[in-house]
Subunit: 146 residues, 2 copies
DNA sequence: GGCCTAAATGCAATATTGTTGCATTTAGGC
DNA sequence: GCCTAAATGCAACAATATTGCATTTAGGCC
């Protein structure tokens, strides 16, 4: 049906319960989830996955471009721009921890040509902008969560 | 004398042996070093630092802008653009692992205004470009180290 | 120079995160 | 319904990071 099964089948991977569950967990949040956070989430729904399995699934999802590891915020988020290879641009709210993925061709190009000016042959890049999301910017002075 | 003692004193921190040693270790390499790698390096010079101490020193260095944690490459590098706050732009060689820090006002501005267009209030950002340094690009096909 | 004290470091114990090898289970082709 | 490669589970382990408290020390003061 969904996105996941299609991608898995298209690349010759099996469609399994654990993969669906991890995918759903990522889908259900805009904040990055660590492997163990995913495990706990699923456990609350009385479903147990070994942490090794979760690591392996997240690793697969990363390779398939189904999820990203957000470094500043340590954890995984579902990719919401499938197909966009090698250029990952995230904005991360330091208050609520939410992450949004964007694409921007121009910035991407600039970033690569800048690297080239430094004698560096760029292949991919990662950009993480930290600040406040619109919601949290409005509610400033309330409380810093993250 | 050097950079380090000045910064420490200016901010009311003590100038100590361990801080000098960690700083020197970072100065001596262009590849990111993890806390434990620093410990091992120093041990080769017959100097022992507890890993907790190293963690605390690296944490301090980060806060003082003396060092950065490079996320893609997990480890710390010495800051080579002191004063440049909130805008960290690194190029990272996937072959030799070397990291270079740069600044680019224009990209910085663009990045922030792009975030704003998304309704996001940017405060700082991190950019890590992966590829091959000039040296490794020349020697392509030899061997991938990292 | 020798005190004094807050700051820095060491140490031990523990927590968190990630990895490896191998046994067991299961998806999907036949 | 079989069969088998792929996926998952499990146990043991390795690596990384954190905490609380004891000990040492840098640097201000006399
Ligand atoms: Mn994506
Ligand atoms: Mn810097
Ligand atoms: Zn927010
Ligand atoms: Zn290189």
């Amino acid at each position: 049906m969904g996105n996941l099964a299609d991608v898995l089948r298209a690349r010759g991977y099996k469609v399994t319960g654990p993969r669906q569950q991890v995918f759903d967990a990522l889908e259900g949040t805009e904040k990055p989830l660590s492997p163990y956070e995913i495990q706990n989430l699923l456990q609350e729904e009385d479903s147990f996955l070994n942490h090794v399995t979760i690591y392996r699934i997240l690793d697969l999802f990363s390779r398939l471009g189904l999820a990203h590891r957000v470094l500043s915020n340590s954890g995984f988020v579902k990719c919401n721009l499938p197909g966009q290879e090698g250029c990952h641009r995230f904005v991360i709210c330091r208050c609520c921890g939410s992450v949004q993925e964007f694409a921007d061709k121009e910035l991407c190009r600039k970033e690569k040509s800048f690297a080239l000016d430094c004698g560096f042959h760029a292949e991919s890049h990662l950009s993480e902008t930290l600040g406040l999301c619109a919601k949290c910017y409005g509610r400033r002075d309330e409380k810093t969560t993250i």
